[in-house]
Subunit: 354 residues, 2 copies
């Protein structure tokens, strides 16, 4: 070991889904949107006045904050933006979770939560989901330093209704409750209306899924102005200029195009519901997804073997190693023709192996 | 106080230089480059295939990492990139400074260093610069948990020669030494050749100054592959996809255009040297800047009053409140015609007030 190595923060990094660079694969592994972003984004980028890039961006990100606030009908002081929802969530962990008590989140959920907790040395406790991957509000009535719930949850796809979310909020007035709504636009109802009633609620969303802008890195939080101010204070003490000029303008243009967004989500929901029927016919079981992916398992098929077979066939899906979910595959909803190719392969694979 | 407020991380945020939105001002307050970025950047952005933005960017940022590595003639495993050098530096503090011993940096230097140390609860000690704002290598021979030196230093503009940097490296084999070279391209010599000899050296640079891309947010670190791997591990545990697709391509295009870069820096150096002569003629004194700004003081003029007068005249410069430097103004080198306007104003102001 080098003499200077002892003082280095050593972490087990999160391993993101593969980003293969070959272009003729079917990529259903990182929950990207199969449709391009709004044409308004192309207009902004192709005409961007690059001479202005010599100047720092607006540290308050006002053009994007205002567009999001207007879209959701909330105050501009209720919105915080960052480099994807990962940035917003990580900064929220750093800002809001400074208690001795552990923060709570489900045992099966977005795999970054425990990574951030470990990075920032935040004590945490994983609350087991039930057999069907549902969480129960009664489990969140124990002393805690904060709560994080993805709704719909990932990688299960399950949506919890707002009564359950409200129960958690009302039983934990001393804790910040983060609802991670990365997938809310594919059929769920946002906790947004609860913001008026609960000042301990922080809702986090992203442009990476429903707005087809994973490559642009935009996430945001919505909460009462005091929470947003605390987030901004920490952000300004870390990096004043996080969002670049092009991103701010492209993001604002994307969120203003409501019609395109609604149609895009409807297309994906339609393909998802068709895919559920086809998966069921092939003998797969899965939680009833309200997201742009389906988390599926087959009684007679080994998920990891199927994962590898799919990959060899140029179809990338996601497999997680954790014990409770190791016989599941998370399949992103792609274009209808991509799903046809997937199902052709699955049908023939199952015929041979089941 | 709200019941959930006690566990919130409260910080004194860094206050960045003003980013006024009016367009007819002369902006010499945040050390931006007065010239636009390379034409290659415009080409990349205006032709960017926006349909690919639905996909996540490459988490390894290879296209940009490779371009930087090639430019400097080092291995691709020696380069780390981030959202401006602030992101790279903050992440380096988090990664490398986990000792009980205080990290060391000068009392007058980039004002983010103590903000990051406080944010991450890293003990630190400020080492006073001498009367002429120089630091002395002998002062850095005390037990420490790491060292951070900006070279040239900000806001003084003073450059330290590589022998002094090497002395600090060789006397501190147990510490990571970060050399922040945000302004190195305006006449200084980078510590890059020392990388071969010292594995405890991390050099941080930025596209925000010499490459006219403050609005794009690109910074980078260069160090031995082990340091870079530790940085990447922490980055991946925070946010896998920090740099967006457009930024990666635009940055790679910018760094490949060596001729444009060299000419751009030479223009600014020329204007700076002219500006030094003009400031001296008006009775200002200043450290001999090797940056794109001059840190100037006048025996008979109150800096804060001059700051306000300049602002009222539409000329923005930077004033810092800290005791030792409160009679100085940091003036960014602008276009020649902007400097003419500045000096016309200064001449008439001094005639009236000195």
């Amino acid at each position: 070991m080098k003499p200077w190595e002892s003082g280095i923060r050593k972490v087990t990094p999160y391993i993101p889904g593969e980003q293969p660079r070959i272009s003729d694969i079917i990529k259903l592994n990182t929950n990207e949107n199969p449709y391009p972003p709004s044409p308004a984004v192309e207009k902004v980028i192709s005409g961007y006045p690059t001479e202005t890039l010599r100047l720092y961006p607006d540290p308050a990100c006002q053009v994007l904050v205002d567009a999001i606030a207007e879209y959701y009908g909330i105050g501009r002081d209720c919105v915080f933006v960052g480099i994807g929802s990962d940035d917003v969530l990580a900064l929220s962990f750093l800002t809001f979770f400074n208690q001795e008590l552990p923060i709570l989140f489900p045992d099966i959920t977005y795999s970054f939560y425990d990574v951030w907790a470990e990075l920032y040395r935040i004590p945490f406790r994983r609350i087991p989901l039930d057999e069907g991957f549902a969480w129960h509000k009664e489990d969140y009535r124990i002393p805690n330093g904060g709560i994080v719930l993805a709704n719909p949850n990932a990688p299960t796809g399950l949506y919890a209704n707002l009564n359950d979310i409200e129960d958690v909020l009302s039983h934990n007035p001393d804790s910040i409750v983060i609802i991670d709504e990365a997938y809310i636009d594919f059929g769920g109802t946002s906790a947004l209306p609860l913001l008026k009633k609960y000042d301990n609620l922080l809702i986090v969303q992203t442009f990476s899924k429903s707005r087809s802008l994973a490559g642009m890195r935009i996430g945001y939080a919505m909460g009462n102005p005091l929470l947003i101010r605390y987030l901004n204070d920490v952000k300004y003490s870390f990096n004043s200029y996080t969002m670049n000029r092009v991103t701010l303008e492209a993001g604002a243009a994307a969120i203003k195009d409501r019609d395109y967004f609604v149609q895009n989500c409807q297309n994906i929901i339609h393909t998802r519901e068709e895919s559920k029927k086809r998966l069921a016919r092939l003998g797969f079981s899965f939680p009833d997804s309200m997201t742009n992916f389906i988390f599926a398992s087959h009684e007679h098929i080994d998920a990891e073997e199927l994962f590898t077979a799919l990959k060899e066939h140029g179809i990338f899906v996601r497999h997680f190693g954790a014990d409770r979910i190791k016989n599941y595959l998370r399949i992103t909803i792609g274009l209808p023709q991509q799903m046809d190719t997937l199902f052709d392969f699955l049908a023939s694979y199952i015929e041979k192996h089941a």
